[in-house]
Symmetry: C2
Subunit: 506 residues, 2 copies
Amino acid sequence: MAKQPQNAISPTRSENYPEWYQQVVKAADLAENSDVRGCMVIKPWGFAIWENIQRRLDAMFKATGHENAYFPLFIPMSFLEKEAQHVEGFAKECAVVTHHRLEPDGKGGLRPAPSAQLEEPLIVRPTSEMIIGATFARWVQSYRDLPILINQWANVVRWELRTRLFLRTAEFLWQEGHTVHATDAEALEETMRMLDVYADFAEHTMAMPVIKGEKTAGERFPGAVSTFAIEALMQDRKALQAGTSHFLGQNFARAQNIKFQDENGQEVFGWTTSWGVSTRLVGGLIMTHGDDDGLVLPPKLAPAHVVIMPIFRSENEKAEVLPYCAKLEHELASQTYAGEPIRVRIDNRDIRGGEKKWQWVKRGVPLRVEVGPRDVAAGKVSLGRRDQAGRFEPTRPEFVANIAKTLDEIQHALLARALKLREESTVRIDNLREFEAFFTPKNAEQPEIHGGLAYSHFVESPEMDEKLKALKVTIRCIPLGGDDEPGKCVFTGQPNNRRGVFAKAY
Amino acid sequence: MAKQPQNAISPTRSENYPEWYQQVVKAADLAENSDVRGCMVIKPWGFAIWENIQRRLDAMFKATGHENAYFPLFIPMSFLEKEAQHVEGFAKECAVVTHHRLEPDGKGGLRPAPSAQLEEPLIVRPTSEMIIGATFARWVQSYRDLPILINQWANVVRWELRTRLFLRTAEFLWQEGHTVHATDAEALEETMRMLDVYADFAEHTMAMPVIKGEKTAGERFPGAVSTFAIEALMQDRKALQAGTSHFLGQNFARAQNIKFQDENGQEVFGWTTSWGVSTRLVGGLIMTHGDDDGLVLPPKLAPAHVVIMPIFRSENEKAEVLPYCAKLEHELASQTYAGEPIRVRIDNRDIRGGEKKWQWVKRGVPLRVEVGPRDVAAGKVSLGRRDQAGRFEPTRPEFVANIAKTLDEIQHALLARALKLREESTVRIDNLREFEAFFTPKNAEQPEIHGGLAYSHFVESPEMDEKLKALKVTIRCIPLGGDDEPGKCVFTGQPNNRRGVFAKAY
């Protein structure tokens, strides 16, 4: 029998971080590449995590007054011509539908039927501002119709050349909020409210600490007046943009003719926002909490909180162990954690115990319970926690009574661990040499893991862009809530009074 | 002030049934046509109904052992070449993606970039057997991997020429189940299990009675060994196919190479099924229960069970009425119906009371409560039921205590009413003259409403097809569970021992 390797995932994070990521996705059965370039298949375990993300976010959207709706997959090409202010410089990677029928090609195959060419090509939505805006223009007549607070859960397509499961795929799943308001103040308030919802969700549901900040002009969503984002730090010290909230001013309302009669009978343009998060969050989850044994799931998002593995070697033992497990399952399922019933699975599969256990370790289940005849006799369970090494042997009633508390401990432990890494990886840097050193790999054997978050003064300039490009560093955001602090741009020496957060990024 | 018209919807069902349908969709704020040909916008009230359908069906799928997953939107053209057994006769209306970039066309507009033509065109999925099957071929190695029980909630596109909101649109939302089994018996069992799930859902959640039956060879899903469906009767006496479940035998497994090692080490093909329902169900809901005042919602699917409308004419009255309404809302929301909390809305909008009331009537809310100062003084509510005329005046405690019972009464009343119509519209016909007369409009002023369900003996033949085509009648299914009964085909006189159900249909 092969000895259990020291770690379930090979390579480890420090050996080869990008490859570790791929191996965790595979070992945890989250997703795989499909037969279609750049498109992924999200497998049941991965999709169940996404369903949990959806359900909890959806409740937060509804609690803040939003309703779901659904808009077309396709956008007429002319809508993009309207949007692209300078069509001449425009080039957009997207999926273009040009025909509406296949026909035999006369050589035993098929071809797009020349007789079925569309008069106007359609684009598969990369985002829906244009098509939803055109709809809103019909819905909004009077100030009484405002605000309009809509969310859509949908698939979108962006023709990406280099793809990576969850982090960057040609097709991905997301939600996109789109709202119209009577005043700029209300629209800006909405923009910040949804940024707060995202930050709250990231920290308290995903256990992933984030920095809320505003994007610089160069990083703004095209057409937005201002773009806000939440930025998280992954374990390789790279940043991940995990969600964005855009204040669009009246720019899109003008392009799409979203007008209304205000209280004085004047016809004015609406003020719009949009905001979104995607299946990229699953990538963030993996890289925030995963370890060298695979995925580690925060309990609030785990498809199973507890997996029970019965152990027996005879029919007699089976007759003792299975009813005990069934009773335990029932007792657990009638408890709740974070407002939801405890999710329990009994794994009765006829495979080796070690293999079974390691499957659930790799899949990141917070609690694993093994129950053999000795546990039954003692009225105990043998408990493994995904966030800690070692085994525990609580009595069954203790375990059941403390289940919510135990899960909450794990939830908090994961957040604390991630916060600690972020603190250790955050520096204030005030000169270029230090900045360059910070973002240069020190260890040739671990080239992927270095750097972190550098808080530095800056003034946007071509010189800064050039230096950042050479270092493969980007400015992530200007953090909200920071105090003004006089200083000098580390790239040019120009005076400036706010620090930005710089990092290598996904 | 304009007098309230006798009916909220014009035309009425008997005046012009197809136009009545469009007007209900509009008046109930369910959906509208978009700027993209054949694609609809599902508005919040319509989408909330779909979300309720999804949530309840999803729970039924999970309770029968299925897991959700997600597969690519696109299908490579070569996959369809494999499937189309006779490519020469193949013509498929679908959205064909041929390019992956737009660029300036030199005339101030955009065009698909000639340099970005795809080597192989991609089809936007009209259904996912091919792409999911290719994935399953990788997942299935051994009999231990079986069964595979997967469901997907997704958008699909079929290039329809004549579209109608919910009933037939180019893009629609649906779920598609796809399963693989080790034996034909298990696959057939699955096919029937999901047909039963659909029938159960239609009758007990949608309050829409359905006939379970098998499709004839001519009506089968291409490639299926047998197709089963649930068929419902709409109020214009036309049938609506509301869901299908296909036993695919080994046909798709062979085309997609889904093979496994059985317990004897033999490599054999799997047995597959697929099954689906779509946003078409919302169309069925409208046409089963709607009346000349608009939508009528079965409580189990209503986005709001109860709408509370406070009525006051002064600040003093407002100070009495609003707290009473808030208390009522709270009391109701802590009750449950059919396993879910009562869904209550308070409508505080500052619009005319009559207009407000009729909006909720047209939207089909089961219970409308008006609360004015007199109701507060008497400790009562003024209650309107969507399934009955008249008003009721229960005390607040009575109303709250009976809320689940009242909703269940409405749920059952809707089913009973629909069953009654179906019984009245169902005939057994044994000769062609009667058959033709049954399907010929009697009343020139109501040409749309006639016919119903005819149970007749038949033997499939070109003669039958021709006669049915002339009458615009189709065979819906061969009902399950019927007894053999000797008879003669009404079209040809050939002997036969099972009746089929014939109807005009959507």
